[in-house]
């Protein structure tokens, strides 16, 4: 027989959780295998030893039990609230009706609502003629016109009076202002003229100073230019003079040479030359 219980089966056997046939099989196996039986016995001893570890006594903390009943009292129920609301509204209406005393009547196509009084026939049964209506209109128009005219006149007077008053006030103010302004303007003119004079004087002074400076500079420049011109002219004259002197010198040399040649020829041929001279 090859049956060998596994660890799980041994545990179930140890804790008595195996069904009877399975437990019998394990027991049979253990009887045939002393080493396995010894091992199980050791585990059983461990279990016995573990029993020495006892429970610790502890007191459960107090639990606050909510005694509030789950059932809702009838006065908190929804249907009761609705009914109570309707009843209260009706009661309010009845009390209000009692205090105000409304009366509603309907007759000849007319709906009449009144409070604490019987309805009065407010619509006149007699009808007015066109002329009467016209007269009423005219009368009211005349009255209206009169009222308008009187009010217009009164307002006109008021306006005129206020205008007059305003004019007088304004003219007085303007006069005052003009007086102040004229006073102010005289002073201003005087100050302005003085300022102008001063400014002109300054300008003139500046101008003369400036112009004298310019003239001086111009004259200086002119003199410089003239000097330059003279210098140049002199230079040119000198050059011309030099040139002429050179040409004179040249001519003199030439004449000298010619003279020398003549003299030489005369010396070399004195007779001919004498003759020639004589011929002349």
């Amino acid at each position: 027989m090859n049956y060998k219980p596994d660890e799980g089966t041994l545990m179930a056997y140890l804790y008595g959780e195996l069904d009877a046939p399975e437990a019998e099989k394990v027991q049979h196996y253990l009887q045939q295998h002393p080493e396995a039986l010894h091992h199980v016995q050791q585990l059983r001893n461990v279990r016995t030893a573990l029993e020495s570890l006892t429970d610790v006594e502890v007191i459960a903390p107090p639990v606050f039990v909510d005694h509030e009943s789950k059932s809702i009292p009838f006065w908190k129920a929804g249907y009761f609230k609705v009914t109570l609301g309707i009843a209260a509204s009706l009661l309010f209406l009845l009390v209000a009706a009692r205090l105000i005393g409304p009366e509603v009547t309907y007759s000849n196509g007319e709906l009449r609502i009144s409070f604490r009084q019987t309805p009065v026939n407010t619509v006149s049964e007699q009808t007015l003629t066109a002329s009467e209506v016209q007269e009423m209109i005219n009368h009211s128009l005349v009255k209206n016109n009169e009222t308008i005219a009187s009010s217009w006149e009164a307002s006109n007077q008021e306006i005129q009076e206020s205008l007059r008053q305003n004019l007088s006030n304004n003219s007085a103010r303007i006069d005052k202002l003009i007086a102040v302004a004229s006073q102010a303007s005289q002073d201003q003119v005087r100050t302005f003229v003085a300022g102008m004079q001063e400014e002109n004087l300054k300008l003139m002074k500046d101008y003369f100073q400036l112009s004298s400076k310019d003239q001086q500079m111009y004259v200086e420049n002119l003199l410089v230019d003239f000097t330059k011109y003279l210098h140049e002219q002199r230079k040119q004259d000198l050059m011309l003079f030099q040139t002429r002197m050179n040409s004179i010198e040249k001519n003199t040399d030439q004449f000298k040479q010619e003279t020398e040649q003549i003299l030489a020829s005369i010396i070399s041929n004195p007779e001919g030359t004498i003759k020639k001279v004589n011929n002349y």
């Binding site: 660890e7 799980g8 001893n45 461990v46 279990r47 030893a49 029993e51 006892t54 502890v58 459960a60």
Partner: protein, 209 residues
């Protein structure tokens, strides 16, 4: 086997759960009274720290109050509650790792020094001597448990001390039943080795066994 809720209470708690699920505050308060000790002890064994266990228990029950109306099957309440508790335990563990803080409980008490765990001692002890020995033994076993990996530790505590079936643990941890059994097997095997290493033999536990 650890102390679990009496069956009568558990049977009665189905109706209680139904009322709590429908928003009955009284029923929800009663649920807290019934389950607080279990969740606290689960977290305490997980952390070996009173403050953190209190924190997790409180968060778990606040979450239970908020989300109980959304619980579809009343039969799954136990797994559902432990799922919340395990998630908060893991969250606290992550926070502790991030802050790298060390609990005072992790330091061994000096010889002769009065145990700081006197407040959390077992009331069933008959006399002070027995009480002291029990406390020392509990601490010793708790330290052994703390040497297991987180995955093995949560399975061992759920099975050994909370009395959940493998199917319920699988449901709470949202893993397969076989994985739960495997973790349990290696958890017990690991504890066996730790007990041998620490020289905690049957003879040492004899006075208690």
């Amino acid at each position: 086997m650890a102390e679990t809720l009496p069956d009568s209470v558990m049977m009665h708690s189905d109706a209680l759960l139904e009322r709590a699920r429908q928003g009955d505050k009284n029923a929800q308060g009663k649920l807290v009274q019934l389950w607080y000790k279990r969740i606290y002890n689960f977290a305490y064994k997980f952390f070996f720290d009173h403050d953190m266990a209190m924190e997790v228990a409180q968060k778990t029950f606040i979450s239970m109050h908020r989300n109980l109306t959304g619980l579809q099957e009343v039969a799954r309440f136990k797994s559902w509650l432990y799922t919340i508790a395990v998630n908060y335990c893991r969250e606290e563990l992550r926070k502790r790792k991030a802050s790298r803080s060390v609990s005072l409980n992790e330091f061994p008490t000096a010889d002769g020094e009065v145990s700081f765990k006197w407040e959390a001692s077992n009331g069933r002890a008959d006399n002070p001597e027995r009480q002291l020995r029990q406390t020392e033994l509990s601490d010793l076993l708790q330290q052994c448990l703390m040497e297991l990996s987180v995955e093995q530790r949560e399975v061992v505590i759920m099975k050994e001390y909370e009395g959940l079936k493998f199917r319920e643990i699988a449901d709470a941890l949202q893993i397969s039943e076989n994985t739960v059994k495997s973790r349990m097997y290696y958890g017990l095997d690991g504890l066996k080795k730790i007990l041998i290493k620490r020289n905690i033999t049957k003879e040492a536990l004899g006075y208690e066994l």
